[in-house]
């Protein structure tokens, strides 16, 4: 187990390095840098450009250096927890992002839990009572969940929230807590607001999860050992819980790899629609204004969250499923 852990960790590191390089290339790709556009803007407004400050920034963030040096500087800074400098907000990225990173982690975790809790009983019901009315209803709902992207659902929810209750259901906490230090009141306010975004972001993931788990469970239920167990007189529930369910539990853990990117993608766009204080709106603004370190750090953070999530899911999977070979060896 320990060997597997270490091996898996060593795979993770080059992946992260490659991702960081890719992200850096992408955010560097537009011609010119933020400082150029910034200066041009100031000059067009007839304002005085503080040449010294520009030069200081250019030097401080190595914009006068070749590409690979800039990358090294950024990467090494990331390792030290220095996320770089946001040109647009004129302060370190860490201060700009503030709580939004933690809130994103929180919302993502809550959504993952939501997906699990909801899809688990529904999938079992659908598989055991295949082709029943309930199965059809859930399958249909699942298709709708897959077809209606989360931002559309968010929009519809906002509309009906306004129509029926006359309130805006956007936001993640009461307005009076925004910018306040953490407290119990703030945390409980978040808890009472969080379920709507969690519901909206989690719906497509839940639909997908139900579909996969149902298919998996159906495959297992048609296997011979189930017939054998039934022939030997094992009662329905015990049989189901003891064997096929355990085997088909794997996607719950293994699918984090595909679930997490989906949830994060969903949270980006939903947070823009519902004006949540998550990473989405800041990332979008940073990309629009070419605020490269801010955008890069956000992208890197999201990729990091995913890679670590997949890492955890791989380890859990190895614990849960003894059939997974831990030692090296190639799998085909």
């Amino acid at each position: 187990m320990l060997r597997y852990l270490i091996r898996r960790l060593f795979v993770m590191i080059p992946t992260l390095i490659a991702i960081s390089f890719l992200i850096f290339v992408i955010i560097q790709a537009p011609p010119g840098s933020f400082l150029d556009t910034y200066m041009a803007e100031l000059q067009s407004q007839g304002e005085n450009v503080d040449q010294g400050r520009i030069e200081f920034l250019r030097h401080e963030y190595g914009l006068d250096q070749p590409f690979y040096m800039q990358y090294l500087k950024w990467g090494i800074g990331l390792l030290h927890g220095d996320l770089g400098y946001s040109f647009e907000h004129n302060m370190p990225v860490r201060d700009v992002v503030g709580d939004s990173l933690w809130l994103t982690v929180m919302v993502t975790l809550a959504t993952t839990l939501f997906v699990w809790v909801i899809s688990f009983p529904i999938a079992i019901y659908s598989a055991v009572r295949q082709y029943s009315i309930g199965d059809y209803v859930f399958t249909f709902l699942g298709y709708i969940g897959l077809a209606a992207p989360s931002f559309l659902i968010a929009l519809i929810l906002l509309y009906f929230g306004h129509l029926w209750f006359g309130i805006s259901i956007g936001g993640l906490m009461d307005a009076r807590y925004i910018g306040q230090p953490w407290s119990w009141a703030k945390a409980s306010s978040i808890l009472s607001h969080i379920w709507i975004p969690v519901l909206v972001i989690g719906l497509p993931g839940t639909a997908g999860m139900i579909r996969r788990l149902r298919a998996n469970l159906l495959d297992e239920l048609h296997k011979q050992y189930v017939t054998t167990a039934r022939a030997k007189g094992l009662s329905g529930w015990r049989l189901l819980l003891k064997y096929p369910l355990r085997v088909s539990l794997n996607p719950f853990i293994a699918d984090i790899g595909s679930l997490l990117p989906e949830l994060i993608s969903g949270s980006v766009i939903v947070s823009v629609v519902m004006s949540l204080p998550l990473t989405g709106p800041i990332l979008l603004q940073a990309l629009r204004s070419q605020d490269m370190y801010l955008a890069g750090s956000f992208l890197m953070f999201m990729a990091f969250l995913t890679v670590v999530g997949v890492f955890i899911s791989d380890i859990l999977l190895a614990i849960v499923d003894p059939r997974i070979r831990l030692g090296g060896g190639t799998t085909k």
């Binding site: 080059p14 992946t15 490659a18 991702i19 890719l22 992200i23 992408i26 955010i27 790709a29 537009p30 011609p31 298709y143 709708i144 897959l146 077809a147 209606a148 992207p149 931002f151 559309l152 929009l155 519809i156 906002l158 509309y159 306004h162 129509l163 805006s168 956007g170 790899g257 595909s258 997490l260 990117p261 989906e262 994060i264 993608s265 969903g266 980006v268 766009i269 823009v272 629609v273 990332l283 979008l284 990309l287 629009r288 070419q290 955008a295 956000f298 992208l299 999201m302 990729a303 995913t306 890679v307 997949v310 085909k332």
Partner: protein, 404 residues
């Protein structure tokens, strides 16, 4: 056995031959005659792979229905100019934010055929909302069919002004007819949704071709060569999959220079969608190649001296092509949704090119949505198309699986 029972020594005279008790035909026996099959059965048994897929697909009612819907929609994008009652950018400054108008059939208990009423307009100062009401006492304005309306250039080339439906005529010229409402510039939503269909539906097709080519190429390389090529491709796929798609799309879309023409941006967006999406197809190709390579028929072909090229294209490819097409069908809705999301956020396709995402961009703020909910209408075709592709893809996948 016989010999032991028969006591006669072999030297004795042979016994008289006894005639057989039952009839035996002397005609030569043709073993095939007992297995004669009807012509219909033979046709079924000898059906080609594609025919079998079609026969199986036909049993999926939902998949067939979805296929028909999609065919109709793709047929419709060929003649959007003719189907849309107005041009893409025809403005009606007197009719801003008109709600969807009702089509009536009866006027004062008398059948007149489809017609609309004139509109009364007033501004609700309390809600700051434009209110339109029907003038039910006005003479009915019958909708015209196969008529001359807004001029257009068919696909940008052939000039014409023939429309399937046109707004009705009244004394002053044209009476308004906004079946799906109008937007902030008084443009007809129905026409814009129809024009947007052309962009939104083609973006999925172009994007999927990009990702199909990339997936075949990289998946094929990995599956055929194996070794370090396989490892490299696998690592790249893993890396791409661990970056959430939407932020990556956003970042890539933000790269596209502002100076590009909208048409270039359109192609740029399709390429971006395809560039990230090929990983799933590549994985499918690779795993199929790896498992099929070991099949008996592949080894047989190799032993008979077939070149690798012939083995891959003649023997291996047909066995996973159908599966691949099914996967590709299931990947198209992801692209359509991706484009919609990008344009919705304002980083995708830009006006004057209009896609459903560009239309939805107008419905971004809650205030607009609450006052003018019909701006959310482009959502309906998005959901229909995505559902249809999902149903068709599911049906195709089941039909392409030879072991069912």
């Amino acid at each position: 056995m016989n010999q032991r029972v028969d006591p006669n020594p072999p030297e004795s005279s042979p016994p008289e031959p006894t005639p057989p008790v039952h009839y035996v035909s002397t005609a030569p026996f043709d073993p095939l005659s007992v297995e004669v099959v009807s012509a219909a059965q033979e046709k079924f048994d000898m059906a080609s792979q594609w025919r079998m897929i079609w026969l199986r697909l036909r049993r999926h009612r939902l998949a067939v229905l979805a296929g028909i819907v999609l065919l109709l929609m793709y047929a419709a994008i060929l003649m959007v100019e003719f189907l849309a009652p107005y041009g893409l950018n025809s403005r009606h400054v007197d009719h801003i934010y008109v709600p969807p108008q009702r089509v009536h059939l009866f006027h004062e208990g008398r059948f007149v055929g489809p017609f609309v009423y004139d509109l009364n307009y007033r501004l609700d100062m309390r809600k700051m909302k434009r209110v339109y009401t029907e003038k039910t006492d006005s003479p009915p304005r019958p909708i015209r069919f196969f008529c001359h309306g807004d001029p257009y250039r068919f696909w940008g080339f052939v000039a014409g002004d023939m429309h399937l439906v046109c707004p009705p005529k009244d004394a002053a010229g044209e009476a308004p007819m906004f079946l799906f409402g109008s937007d902030r510039l008084g443009r007809d939503m129905l026409s814009r949704i129809l024009y947007g269909m052309r962009i939104s539906l083609t973006i999925g097709l172009i994007g999927i071709s990009v990702s199909f080519v990339l997936g075949m190429l990289f998946g094929g390389l990995a599956g055929y060569y194996g070794g370090w090529v396989d490892d490299l491709v696998q690592r790249v796929i893993e890396m791409l999959r661990s970056i959430p798609h939407l932020p990556l799309w956003l970042a890539l879309a933000a790269i596209l220079p502002v100076t590009w023409s909208p048409l270039l941006v359109y192609f740029g967006i399709t390429v971006i969608l395809g560039l990230i999406d090929w990983t799933g197809l590549a994985r499918a190709v690779r795993s199929r190649l790896l498992s099929l390579r070991e099949e008996d028929f592949a080894i047989a072909a190799k032993l008979m001296g077939a070149s690798p090229q012939r083995i891959i294209f003649r023997h291996l490819m047909p066995s996973f092509m159908s599966h691949l097409i099914a996967s590709a069908t299931l990947a198209i809705p992801g692209m359509i949704l991706g484009e919609t999301a990008l344009s919705f956020l304002g980083l995708g396709i830009r006006a004057p090119i209009t896609s459903w995402g560009v239309l939805l961009n107008e419905a971004q703020s809650v205030n607009v949505v609450v006052l003018y909910p019909w701006l959310m209408l482009p959502m309906v075709p998005v959901i229909i198309v995505v559902l249809a592709f999902n149903f068709l893809g599911d049906g195709l996948r089941d039909a392409a699986d030879p072991y069912r």
